[in-house]
Amino acid sequence: MSPLDLAARPAEKPLTAAQMLKLYQLETADLENIQSFGESVVPRLDDYVTRFYDWMETQPEFEQFFSDTEKLDRVQRQQLVYWQEFFAAKVDEEYLDKRRVVGEAHARIGLPLQVYLAAMNVSMKLITGNLYKSGLSPDQYATSIHSVSKLMHMDCAIVVQTFSARVNRIMAEQNDALMEMSTPVTSIWDGILLLPIVGIIDSSRGQDIMNAMLAKISKTRARVAILDISGVAVVDTAVANHLIKITKATRLMGCETTISGISPAIAQTIVELGIDVGDIQTTATLRDALVYAFRATGVEIRQAP
C-alpha cells in the first residue's frame, strides 16, 4: 500500500448522505419500494408500538429504562416519528443527523447496544410480518423487504457508530484526565523537592512538569530537586529534550535537579538516540538521588545505634 492510499480509507469525518446510500446500495428504486411498503404499514404503526412494548416488557432492561410513564409516552411518540421518517425514505443530511440523535439518546442513557439491535430485529419482524397486510405480489414483497432491510442496516450502523464515537470520546477524556492527574511536586525535606513521573510524557505534560517544578522552587526555595522517571514508559528525543530543559530552567533558579530512575535499557536508548545529556546529574535509582540530595543540603544520614 502506498502512502497515498491512506486518503481513501474511511476518515473520522462522517459520510455524506450520498456516500451512505452508495455504501448500503440503496438505489432510487429501493427508496420507492420502502415508500410504497410504508403506505400499508404506516397507518398501523400504533399497533406496532403496542406489540413492540409487549416484547420490551419481557426484557430485563425495561424497568431500568422505561419505568416512568411520562418517559414511556415520550419515547413511544418518538418511535412513531422514527418509523414515519423511515418510510418517507428521504435519506438526506437531515435524515442522517436525526439518526445520530437517536444513537446519542440511547448511548447517553447507557442502553446496551445489544438491546438496541435486538429491538430493531423485533421491529423488523413486526413491520414486515404482523403489520403488513396485503397488496403486493410475492416477488414485489420480497423486493420490498430487501429494500427495507438495507435502510434498516444503514440506520443501525449510524447508531452503532454513534455509540462507539461516544466510547472513544470518553476514553480520550479519561486519558486527558489521567495525563493531567497532577504533577505532585512534593517537598520531602527542607530544601529538597521530589517529583515522581509515571506514564507518558507528551509536550503538554512536559510543560506542566516544568511549570509545577519552577512554581514549587520559587515557593520553597528548594536547592535540590529529584525528578524520578523510573515509571516513565519511554524516553524518546522529545522527552529527553524536555528533561534537559527542565534541569536547565531549575538551575537558573538556583536549584540543582537530579534525574533518577534511569534504567540500563533507558540509558542505552538515550545514547543510541545521540542525545547530549551534557552535565545533567543522573542516577540509576531514587535512593542514590536521595543520598546525593541530602549530602548537597548538608543533611547527614546515620544508622540508629
Binding site: M1, S2, P3, L4, L6, A7, E12, M171, A172, N175, D176, M179, G199, I200, D202, S204, A233, V234, V235, D236, T237, A238, V239, A240, N241, S263, P264, A265, I266, Q268, T269, E272, L273, G274, I275
Partner: protein
C-alpha cells in the same frame, strides 16, 4: 499469550492519546515476543519517535506493529505511514541534528541506529512511510 508471528496491531494516529496507545501496544507485543528489556525499550522508543513525527509533520497517519519472519529468525516490524507533506531531502532528514521543526533532529537517525533494518520512503506531497525491523 499470542505468538508474535501472527500478531498485528494497526493504530490510527490522530492525537497524543493515539501515540500513547501505540507505545503501550508496542511494549506489550515486544514483551510477548520475549525481546530483551533493552530491545523492548528500543522498540517502544522507535514507535514513539515515528508516531510523534506523524503527528507533528503530517497531522495524522497510521502505525502498524506486527511480527515478522526472516529466513532464520523472527522479529518485529514497525511501519509508520502518512499522507502528509513528505520529505524532500531524505538524506538530510536522516542526518543527526537536522530538524525542520526546531527540535533535536535525532529521531529518524536514532531510530536507524536502534533498529536492525530501516527503510524510509517518501514522496513530497504524497506522504511518508518508514519501515523498520528488529530481530530477536
Amino acid at each position: 499469550m499470542q505468538g508474535i508471528h501472527n500478531a498485528e496491531a494497526r493504530i490510527a494516529i490522530r492525537g497524543e492519546s493515539d501515540v500513547a496507545r501505540a507505545i503501550v501496544q508496542a511494549r506489550r507485543m515486544s514483551q510477548a515476543a520475549a525481546f530483551q528489556t533493552v530491545d523492548q525499550s528500543r522498540i517502544a522508543t522507535t514507535v514513539s519517535e515515528l508516531a510523534r513525527n506523524i503527528l507533528k509533520y503530517a497531522g495524522q497517519g497510521e502505525v502498524i506493529l506486527r511480527g515478522c519472519v526472516g529466513a532464520t529468525r523472527r522479529g518485529m516490524e514497525i511501519i509508520a505511514e502518512d499522507s502528509g507533506p513528505g520529505i524532500a531531502d531524505t538524506d538530510s532528514a536522516l542526518s543527526d541534528h537536522y530538524s525542520s521543526g526546531g527540535t533535536l533532529g535525532l529521531g529518524l537517525p536514532g531510530v536507524q541506529r536502534m533498529m536492525d533494518e530501516f527503510a524510509l520512503e517518501s514522496e513530497p506531497g504524497a506522504g511518508t512511510r518508514v519501515t523498520v525491523r528488529k530481530w530477536l
